[in-house]
C-alpha cells in the first residue's frame, strides 16, 4: 500500500511545483470540468505541457485522466519510467514501430473504461508558431469511441518559458484555455474532423501579434 501513497504524493508535489513555477490559470471557456470520459487535446511546445493540463484539472478528474506519451522518450531511464508508469499512469505509444500493439486500441481502452486522456495531435513538439498538421490518430480514436468528447486546450506561454534546448526556464505566467467539446458527426470525413479540431484549438489562442 505504501508505494501507492508515495506515487500520489509525488504527483501532488509535481503539480504544486508546476503551478508555483508557471502561475498557471485554467480558463474553462467552453465547458465545465466533468467526470465523463473526454480527450483533452492541446498544442505541444514543451515536455511540461501534459503536466500543466494534468495539474490544472480538479483532483477528482486528475485521478482519472491519463496522458498519452511517446514510449521512446518516457521509457529512457528509471526516473522517467517511474513517473510515467506510476505517477502519471501514462498511456504509452510507440511512435517508431507499431508492430506490438495497435495504438488506437491502447488509447480507446481507458476511454471505454471511463477514464480521460490528454493528447497532442501534432504528434511532436512544435518549435514555431501556430499548429502543425494534426496526425490522423485523433480521428481514428473518435471513430473507435464515438461517444467521447474532444476538448481543445490551448496552452499559452509554456513553450516560451522553457523552449527546447534551453537550460534555464524563464518564469512566465501560463494560461490554459479549455474550449467547447467536439464530437465526431455521423459521416464526417477525416479531413473535416481534423480541420474542425484544428480550428477549435486555434480559436482559443490569443490574437497573434
Amino acid at each position: 500500500m505504501a508505494p501507492r501513497v508515495l506515487d500520489a504524493w509525488a504527483g501532488a508535489l509535481l503539480c504544486g511545483f508546476a503551478k508555483l513555477l508557471t502561475g498557471v490559470r485554467a480558463l474553462w471557456l467552453g465547458c465545465r470540468p466533468d467526470l465523463r470520459p473526454r480527450v483533452y487535446f492541446a498544442n505541444h511546445r514543451s515536455h511540461g505541457d501534459f503536466l500543466l493540463i494534468w495539474a490544472s484539472l480538479p483532483p477528482a478528474l486528475r485521478a482519472r485522466t491519463r496522458p498519452v506519451a511517446g514510449a521512446d522518450y518516457w521509457l529512457q531511464g528509471p526516473l522517467r519510467r517511474y513517473l510515467i508508469k506510476r505517477v502519471f499512469r501514462g498511456v504509452l505509444i510507440n511512435r517508431k514501430v507499431s508492430r506490438h500493439a495497435d495504438p488506437i486500441a491502447c488509447m480507446a481502452a481507458p476511454l471505454a473504461a471511463g477514464e480521460s486522456l490528454i493528447l497532442f495531435p501534432e504528434g511532436t513538439r512544435n518549435l514555431g508558431d501556430g499548429l502543425l498538421p494534426f496526425k490522423s490518430g485523433i480521428h481514428h480514436l473518435a471513430e473507435a469511441q464515438s461517444q467521447v468528447e474532444f476538448v481543445p486546450v490551448w496552452i499559452e506561454n509554456l513553450g516560451r518559458a522553457m523552449p527546447k534546448g534551453s537550460l534555464v526556464p524563464i518564469p512566465l505566467l501560463c494560461t490554459l484555455s479549455f474550449g467547447a467539446p467536439l464530437v465526431l458527426q455521423p459521416g464526417e470525413s477525416r479531413a473535416d474532423f481534423l480541420q474542425r479540431c484544428t480550428n477549435a484549438l486555434l480559436s482559443l489562442a490569443p490574437p497573434s501579434d
Partner: protein
C-alpha cells in the same frame, strides 16, 4: 521604541483605521442588497478592500523587517510585474537568453546595488548596461524577425518593472540632513499618496463620474474621477508633511506632481493592455487584477520623486 518607529506605528494604525471604516461600508453595502440580486460592483469593492488589508499587512511586515525587508519586497514586486509584462509581450526563441539575463541577473543586481548604496551604478545599470548588453545577447539568437521591436519590448519591461520600481527602496539611500533614520517615512509618503490617488479616483469616478476621459484607452477613467482623485490625494500628501522633511506647501506640490505622474502611469500601461486585448495584467491580487495593475502609478512616480528629493534636499 524609537521616535521614527512610533511615527510608523501611528501611520499604520491610521491606515488600519481607514481600512476598517471601508470594510464596514463595504459590509453595509453588501448587507443592504436584497438576497437575490448581488451587484458585481459591490463584490469587486469588497474584494478590493480585502486585498488592501493583505497588501498593507505585507508592507507592514516589510517595514518591520527594516531596510532588507523593504528591498526584498520591492524586488519581489519587480519580479512579479516583469513576469506579467513579458508574459503578454511577443518575443521569440532568440530572446530567451536576454530574458534569462533580465530576470536572473539585472533584476537581482539592481536591488543589490541599492542595498549597498551604489548610486553611481544603480542609476545607470539598466538604462546603459542592460540597454547595450541585452540586444547583443539577442543577436546571438540569430533571428532578425522584428528584431528592433523585440529588443525594445524587453528593455521597456525592465525599465518600468525593475528600474522605475526600484526607486522606491532607493529612497532609503538618500542622506537628508536632520532626517537621519527616517527614510522609511519617505516611502510611506510616496506609496500612501499615490495609492490613495488611485483609490480616490475610483471613489470619485463611481460617485460623480460623467465624462469619460479616453474610452479607447481606459473605459473606467472619468474626468471627475481624475480631478477629484488627484486633488483629494494631494490633500492627503499635504496632510502627511509632518512625516517628511518638506514644508506643508512643498509636500502638497510634490504630492500633486506624483499624483499626476501616477495617473498617467496607469494611463500608459492601459494603452499597452488595450493594444494586447487585455483587461488586466494578471490575476494575482483579487479585485485589482495583476501586480502591474496595482503598481503602474508607483512605477511612473517613484523615479521622479526620488530625483526631486535628491536634487533639493540632499546636499
Amino acid at each position: 521604541m524609537t521616535d521614527p518607529q512610533i511615527t510608523l506605528l501611528q501611520i499604520f494604525a491610521g491606515v488600519a483605521g481607514l481600512l476598517s471604516l471601508f470594510s464596514v461600508i463595504g459590509a453595509w453595502l453588501h448587507w443592504r442588497q436584497s438576497p437575490g440580486q448581488s451587484s458585481p460592483g459591490v463584490a469587486n469593492l469588497n474584494a478590493r478592500i480585502k486585498a488592501w488589508w493583505g497588501m498593507v499587512a505585507l508592507l507592514g511586515l516589510a517595514f518591520w523587517a527594516g531596510r532588507v525587508g523593504v528591498i526584498l519586497l520591492f524586488a519581489f514586486i519587480s519580479f512579479q510585474a516583469l513576469r506579467e509584462f513579458i508574459s503578454v509581450t511577443y518575443t521569440r526563441r532568440g530572446d530567451h537568453r536576454a530574458l534569462v539575463w533580465s530576470f536572473f541577473f539585472f533584476l537581482p543586481l539592481q536591488y543589490f546595488l541599492i542595498s549597498i548604496d551604489w548610486y553611481g551604478l544603480f542609476s545607470i545599470l539598466i538604462p546603459v548596461y542592460a540597454f547595450l548588453l541585452l540586444p547583443i545577447s539577442a543577436t546571438l539568437g540569430a533571428d532578425t524577425t522584428r528584431f528592433l521591436e523585440r529588443a525594445a519590448k524587453v528593455q521597456w519591461g525592465l525599465m518600468i518593472c525593475v528600474y522605475c520600481l526600484s526607486h522606491v527602496p532607493a529612497l532609503l539611500t538618500l542622506e537628508i540632513p536632520g532626517f537621519e533614520g527616517r527614510n522609511l517615512q519617505l516611502i510611506v509618503f510616496l506609496v500612501l499618496t499615490v495609492q490613495s490617488s488611485d483609490v480616490f479616483q475610483y471613489v470619485w469616478g463611481k460617485l460623480l463620474g460623467r465624462h469619460k476621459l479616453a474610452p479607447e484607452i481606459s473605459p473606467s477613467k472619468t474626468l471627475e474621477g481624475l480631478v477629484g482623485g488627484v486633488l483629494t490625494s494631494t490633500a492627503v500628501g499635504a496632510a502627511l508633511w509632518w512625516i517628511t522633511p518638506f514644508a506643508p506647501w512643498q509636500a502638497a506640490l510634490l504630492a500633486l506632481t506624483i499624483n499626476i505622474l501616477g495617473f498617467f502611469g496607469g494611463f500608459v500601461l492601459s494603452a499597452i493592455k488595450r493594444d494586447r486585448g487585455l483587461k488586466d495584467w494578471g490575476s494575482m491580487i483579487e479585485g485589482h487584477g495583476g501586480m502591474l495593475d496595482r503598481v503602474d502609478s508607483i512605477a511612473f512616480s517613484a523615479p521622479i520623486f526620488f530625483h526631486l528629493v535628491r536634487f533639493w534636499w540632499v546636499p
